[in-house]
Subunit: 672 residues, 3 copies
């Protein structure tokens, strides 16, 4: 399946009219019309209204909301609303409340507060989803189903412990296999009965929080189990919907690079991907871009929905800066450039109370349409009407892949030694950023992805190497392609057991190196790495590389390993395998990645303009669209690399013609 | 009622002879006489001695202490001693131990350890207070009753949950009203039964501690409930005392700016206010002064008692600096200058063991009278005898008010967005300090106070605006007065619901402005604000002001809102309403506040001497006393603004005569 | 008893072949032979294998490991393996799991996870130790018994509460005595029944963690009780072993300066001391040296075993640096120089899984013998064979003692006031370092040690003074010796009650001073202290000293106590008593300590070479060995102070002959 078919990019967002008297609804729709808003996400947190008691459902409010939307010509993304328990359910079935990492059974409060292993929750949530589908399948407003909301959180209750044991039996088959996988002879942990296994928590294997575990194997499996347990909740709701509505596409809103859940395990079960983008506002634009590309990678490159972003500010952070003029528009087009086929906000009208009352909204507390934010929202709305369906269904023709692997993320960050300071996302982002700023389109894909479309495969901090991955990477080089791996790659198998071979394990033959030892130092210690004319800063981890076929490309400049290789290249037939043995700074990574991309002619025409992001999408009819996004507060003066028409302005540009992107400006060029 | 009538300022402090053999008592009284000590606080922590078992009271020790005090001509502030449970009570009735924010039922330990909702505690404490009153009412030594000690702390047990529900029923009447007040339709929190409501804790609505709540409404109500629950304990004890002693004044010792309890709810129930002053020793002197003025404001400006201060050092802090020579005397006169009619210490003799053994004391472990600290204490004692009753009952003739509001404090600091970095006390202190250093006497009053006596009303960060406050502030300007409000004021109603009007809500018409959006930035980001010749630093929050009648007084110097107003003045008839839209630094606030004070001729004669604090008190007979306090380690050379006699030295000064205040020096001038 | 008799220094370490298939064992022994490894620590974590169920023991694997070792000519340090519970025991007897400081009963996980007060644990552990002894007493491979592993951790369960009450009855006799010792009249804590006493935890007397207690007395006693409870576990196992094996020496591996357990209470019960050395790799070498000397001091100067060190890196730290070339050898000889008669590693072969898989090992995951680390291990192995038995049984002829006292450590760091920033180890290390870098051999001894062998006794931050210590220190000066004490010494008695005399309490007459008051300041505040030509920095605590016979040696340079003494010397007959009233920096302490050592002619011949550590050992036959250790990465050029032969190279040096120590180089000189 794909996202819902629409004539243009759906525009709108989370809408909670049930919190307001109906006279406010009139004003809402008047303002929606003014702002070009055609799509509303409804019902995300209305369980307590829709089902006020165990045996009572009340669809009055939802009926009115949907009917009104239909009457106004707007479409609805209908939520099942099962992410926040109603009070009566928590009181009546206390086991639906989670038991936390500290072993504390919670009581009613907050949201995302349900135990995924609780039959009472599963039963109630599934019933509600079924009732909604029964009632609203075929309703003219309904465009898509939105199950639950931002799935996340972990439970450690006895029900989950039992479910975990069953899951383990399924996964490992026998206790012998499990003991071997977790290496339990260490520290006398050999289990002789499944019932002896406890969820890994602050009361069992952990100290100093969730990243410090005595046994990586059990904690890794609990992450996988939690992913599957919440996925089970999703699937049960989806099945209940499908019983009544076989066609309307179903999604749930993800959160980008969200460590707790392995979205790759979920991806096959979504009809289309969608996600909520709240990048830290001081992050470089490639942080949001990486998340967009990860989301696009979930469904093999199919477009996704931007389900939420803020029109102005967040509220949940310690400090919540304001999106400056133009930033909202830029972020919206960035999403579209990376594959978004919808642009939705949280939220349409600011809540009057509780913790999100200061979260930005299209309509503020005073209900005005003459604010700067409303004006910018309306301007984008108008532009999206102009754009029409030009971008819908378009795909990204990337020849560069970045492998993203939740298992490696988990394994790396829960590792004891060599360094707790290495963060998976940061290293991955450094490589992604280098490729993107060099102008390459990048697919961010799971390690199981088909790698044949790619000339370049970047595999930073791939701590865990599973299955036939090494062979498939070798196939990339056999085709003449280039593979890059880094420090702390190829260390453990799927159970987090060290490979009993030279580091980097299964990648060692491809990389043509051998590593016996590695140093780690505090963040302020820099080892200069010489890379041709460039001296880059390296930090955190310094692997000592003994080439076994590879040639040095960069060398350490300090410590007892000064002069030994920090970056190597192994020529394998027509292909190349690069290894970066330390955490290089961005200029160092840029240097390495650009050399690799250049080899495959993948450096883009505007690579000299660091602040100008480019992204390509190819429409189903073959039209090639080039998005140009100027992230700088200054104008970018460019020279056209090809004749094109800007779909937003209608302006034509000829090859080699100079043109200017405004500060924070955007162009959507149809290449000719 | 007022503080007890005494011929001079009571001088002394906490005295625990029950911890020592009686031969030490003789030495105590010898030293008390040497130091001019006439008042002893007795029995604060002696419950386990006075009532060694549920059915056994033993007054032997207290009898001897009080009789001895009377024989020595000293008076006693008699504590009910109910702040620290005896072990037997905690063992026999485990429910008297608190359940903490993490949901953990405590066991016996520490102090301030009782559950206010526990009938067993309430019964035992009240019975003890009654027994004490029965026995000591009319005892010649007894000067005042001191109930409990430094009330504080919160309990989350099931008994408190029940009491909270009853309190909510009383407050909200119906669940519909409660659901509306807390805006529970948000996040599916609509309650359908009172029993579904849980105290807001780490197990329910909170994350990252007590300031992070999903629902501000419930947490705010729990703060109010806790205030009332502890007040209920106080009132029960007071009633038990009054049954036997109808006349002796009753107090409990407060802790100044103590966030957990809204002392304004307690104030009507005290016969006189008293408090324990332990300012951080590196704080500017206006921090202690603000607390003194807040305490004086509890009883409409009536004098209060300084119930505790340290003669030398604290012990409970990570680092406990020593009061330098002269600092004790200066702090004592500062208290008197702000309305203290007693000057008491914790503690008379240093404890031999446990956590306060290194807390400073008049008499140290070696029992010497030839230490510096003892000598300074004795010198102050001698001076207070000289001063006699001159200051007793005197009141402060302030024409400037600063509104201090626990509800706003709570609401501001538990707010999600825009910035967790804004701290209520800090902002309030900045404005208070500006006024005090300009020489204005300031009343620190609740938002319900009568504002008619004031020319200037400062209302910093008044996040919550309740009742008719806006109208009463408008009345101030209607009389020609000046009102100042700041950023993050006028945001929410009494339930923490946003006003559905332009910011700053009910204050907007008075301020003549409208605010649609606001920025927040990390603490290190400065926006320069131009205020005439001064450029002040602004930080944290930057509201974007659209004047609606107001004129700009200061403007932002940076970011996309550069040139827009950061400080505005709205002329309303003869009055003025000022708005400061950002967190200005002290020089910026000084500039604004001095302009306002100057308008009303409230800048004092010594305002040019920043280190010299002035404070006025008017005795019951109309005598006007001017306190001059030199907080600098250098002498202050001043010129007299009026003829006066220094009550401490007897020296006369004529108008325009030069005179000098010693380093840390004090003068108490009777103006003529 | 002494360490096991061996012909040379035992060399090897922790070996867990049970985690590997037997073909790996062959490879292990091949590599052991290559590396000169003759001693293996076996069975530390194999309880779950050896006893797979409550009624089942299985010695198959151990039999094979021991027999194989014997066949290969290697000796075994045989562990009882009771430090990590098997899962079945935790499941079947949940009370063997600990209840933590927060009051949470743990479930199965980690290691060091047993409740010492649980009869089920005690029974099972003792039975296992007995079975092992029954089976392996007399086995040719068995060289020593290794009970449990790195004892530590605290339990707060109800079983421990009962045991604590019994322990208290034993210690205090009556509740009156206990109430007096803990000074419970303070804060109404007077106990009237033993059952009212609760272990001091986060739920009772503590706040902000284990160092913040309302009652130091109870917390101090809980530390002592915990020490004794774990010692009880050790003794029960030892007794079970002795029933079958009367002769083989028994030890347990300590952790150097490990605050939770008072090793001095354990020392009499060990046949020989052993410990695991994991100094922070950026610590000065005197940190490890101090711990070595503390361990040597446990058995009156008898040699100890270095039971564990890493050949390369740790894994448990946030950042785990690599031991650089030569550092392992240097650290090994440092241990020997300070009294180690064995040199063992954790671990022989790197674990394949779990939290120690990246901990350094002699044999890495790839099983290679051509790594740098293996090569260095083998080189040391070869050298140790050369060295043979030359150092075995040798003792250190120190004339300087440093008093090390767990009670003072505990009391100081749980004190409320004057400063939480003073850390016992840091201050002790400063004095130790000064003496060591001046070339003095130092015995680190308990306060009960015989002080007659010493010319100089250093007693830094001796917060608690017990028994006849003051008199024994006075005897040192009476003999013409020198005693040094510092700030925060002599404050409390064995129950943490302040002395009712002038500070420093029982040390005051000896020191010839009186202290009435003390200042404390944040770490960044420096008071310069003038010490002859040197101006040293003083911080944290500044006691104000009034000499009573002592003469000033150094004076404060700032604050109101400028010009008063910061360092004093009291001449007492031929002896001297020095007092340092503040936390001097290292140069300041060096100055003071060198003056004292010089007085006794204890400054060493190489004291001018800061990086060159010297240590003397005298072999049983009277041979005097001088270890020279160059901790610098540069060569040290020295002039021989005496004729000598280097046992490692066989080279002779004559007096006054120049010689060079390589970077990180070592010489073991037999003096002639």
């Amino acid at each position: 399946m794909t996202p819902p078919r629409t004539p243009k990019i759906p525009y709108g967002g989370d809408y909670n009219p049930e919190q307001w008297p109906e006279e406010v609804w009139d004003e809402d729709h008047r303002l929606f019309t003014r702002a070009g808003i055609d799509t509303l996400t409804v019902g995300v947190f209305s369980w307590s209204l829709t089902q006020p008691a165990e045996d009572t459902y009340d669809f009055t409010a939802l009926d009115r909301v949907l009917d009104r939307a239909a009457a106004e010509g707007r479409r609805v993304c209908l939520a099942t609303g099962t992410a926040a328990l109603p009070p009566w359910l928590a009181k009546r079935h206390p086991e639906v409340n989670r038991t936390d990492f500290e072993g504390r059974r919670h009581r009613y409060g907050q949201r995302h507060n349900f135990c995924p292993g609780s039959p009472a929750y599963r039963r109630a949530a599934t019933a509600l989803a079924g009732r909604l589908a029964e009632r609203y399948a075929g309703h003219p407003a309904v465009l898509a189903w939105h199950i639950n909301n931002e799935y996340g959180g972990v439970c450690y209750c006895d029900l989950c412990a039992d479910a975990f044991r069953a899951w383990l039996r399924e996964r490992h088959g026998t206790l012998d296999a499990l003991n071997d996988a977790w290496w339990t002879t260490f520290w006398s942990h050999r289990y002789t009965d499944w019932d002896q296994i406890e969820p890994p928590s602050a009361l069992t294997e952990h100290w100093r929080g969730p990243d410090h575990t005595a046994f990586q194997g059990i904690t890794l499996d609990y992450h996988r189990f939690t992913t599957d347990a919440l996925l089970g909740c999703f699937l049960a709701e989806k099945e209940a919907i499908r019983a009544h509505d076989p066609d309307t596409p179903v999604t749930t809103n993800f959160m980008g690079m969200f460590r707790p859940l392995d979205y790759h395990r979920w991806a096959p079960h979504l009809d289309f991907a969608s996600w909520d983008s709240y990048p830290p506002l001081d992050a470089p634009p490639t942080v949001a871009a990486l998340a967009h590309d990860l989301m696009r990678g979930l469904k093999d490159g199919a477009p996704f929905w931007l389900m939420e972003q803020t029109p102005s500010t967040t509220a949940c952070r310690d400090v919540n800066p304001l999106r400056r003029p133009g930033e909202l528009r830029l972020a919206t087009y960035q999403a579209i450039a990376h594959g978004a086929d919808a642009a939705l906000y949280f939220q349409m009208r600011a809540s009057r109370g509780a913790c999100e009352k200061y979260h930005g909204a299209v309509i503020g507390h005073a209900g005005r349409d003459d604010t700067r934010v409303f004006r910018e929202v309306a301007e984008v709305g108008e532009e999206l009407e102009t754009l029409g369906g030009a971008t819908l269904g378009a795909r990204t023709p990337a020849r560069t892949a970045l492998l993203f692997d939740w298992d490696s993320w988990w394994a790396l960050e829960m590792s004891d030694g060599p360094s707790r300071l290495v963060r998976y996302q940061e290293v991955a982002h450094t490589y992604y950023r280098a490729a993107r700023q060099a102008g390459a389109d990048v697919d961010v894909v799971p390690v199981t992805a088909d790698l044949t479309p790619y000339d370049v495969v970047l595999a930073p901090v791939l701590h865990m190497v599973k299955g036939d991955l090494a062979a498939r990477l070798e196939a990339v080089t056999a085709r003449g392609g280039t593979v890059l791996a880094t420090f702390l790659s190829g260390r453990v198998d799927e159970h987090d057991r060290a490979f009993l071979t030279d580091v980097p394990g299964p990648l060692a033959p491809l990389m043509g190196i051998r590593i016996d030892e590695w140093d780690a130092r505090q963040a302020e210690i820099v080892n200069p790495v010489h890379l041709g004319d460039l001296t880059a800063d390296a930090r955190l981890v310094f692997e000592i590389v003994r080439p076994r076929g590879a040639e040095p490309v960069g060398t350490y400049g300090a410590d007892f390993y000064a002069g030994t290789p920090a970056v190597t290249r192994h020529r394998v037939g027509e292909g190349e395998a690069w290894y970066v043995a330390t955490a290089l700074d961005q200029p160092g990574v840029d240097h390495v990645v650009r050399r690799i991309l250049a080899r495959h002619d993948l450096v883009g025409p505007y690579a000299g303009h660091t602040a100008v992001e480019t992204a390509t999408r190819v429409a189903p009819d073959g039209t090639r669209l080039l998005f140009l996004l100027n992230h700088a507060p200054e104008p970018a003066r460019l020279t056209a690399h090809a004749p094109a028409v800007d779909l937003l302005t209608g302006e034509h540009t000829e090859r080699d013609e100079p043109f200017t992107l405004d500060p924070l400006g955007v162009a959507v060029l149809r290449l000719q």
